[in-house]
């Protein structure tokens, strides 16, 4: 398979596209900074599986980790989600520009009637 550049946006969307990971984000948003073990306790899967999910979120910048003693405190970070919003807005504006161009073209034609 060809080498694929991993843009931040791709990582963010990939990270957010898993239901378990979204649930983790929701949990963190509700409860605030939480230990890995405590997060894992909320899910019916192994601690290790949750730990891996958290690492994916961390790599995408969606959570940050603060190691206090032997506990790793995980905290949600909202900023990267704005990237998604930015992409969405850009796509929409491209789309609207085309529609505007179409409209003005039609108006011009009407003027020439």
């Amino acid at each position: 398979m060809v080498e694929r550049e991993s843009t931040p946006l791709t990582d963010i969307l990939k990270a957010a596209s898993d239901p378990t990971r979204r649930a983790i984000l929701t949990l963190l948003a509700q409860d605030g900074p939480t230990r890995v073990t405590e997060i894992a306790a909320r899910f019916e899967m192994s601690l290790n599986a949750v730990s891996k999910h958290i690492k994916v979120l961390e790599a995408a910048g969606l959570v940050s980790r603060r190691t206090a003693w032997r506990e790793h405190i995980i905290e949600v970070r909202m900023e990267p989600l704005a990237e998604i919003d930015r992409w969405f807005r850009e796509l929409r504006s491209i789309w609207e520009m085309r529609l505007d161009a179409l409209n003005s073209l039609l108006t011009e034609e009407n003027d020439n009637d």
Copy 2:
């Protein structure tokens, strides 16, 4: 592996998380409804690969297909992207509610000083 429910949001995020698919969406937003072959011509991969990407986008509702004779005209659909925005907003509001609660707790404590 356990059976995983496929929510619309999961499908939308998964579909949007691939750079090629986002490029297809951008292209469609710019150029408007386009034939499959024509879309494929813009990418350095086989027609079949692009066709598969389009099917993923279609399953997520991000594009619609209009079969005109033997040509399949693909069109971008913006509506499902609002789902992402909705999720984002919900997460943020949960997050802000917690912060507000925290703040009012602190204020209360200050009042009691």
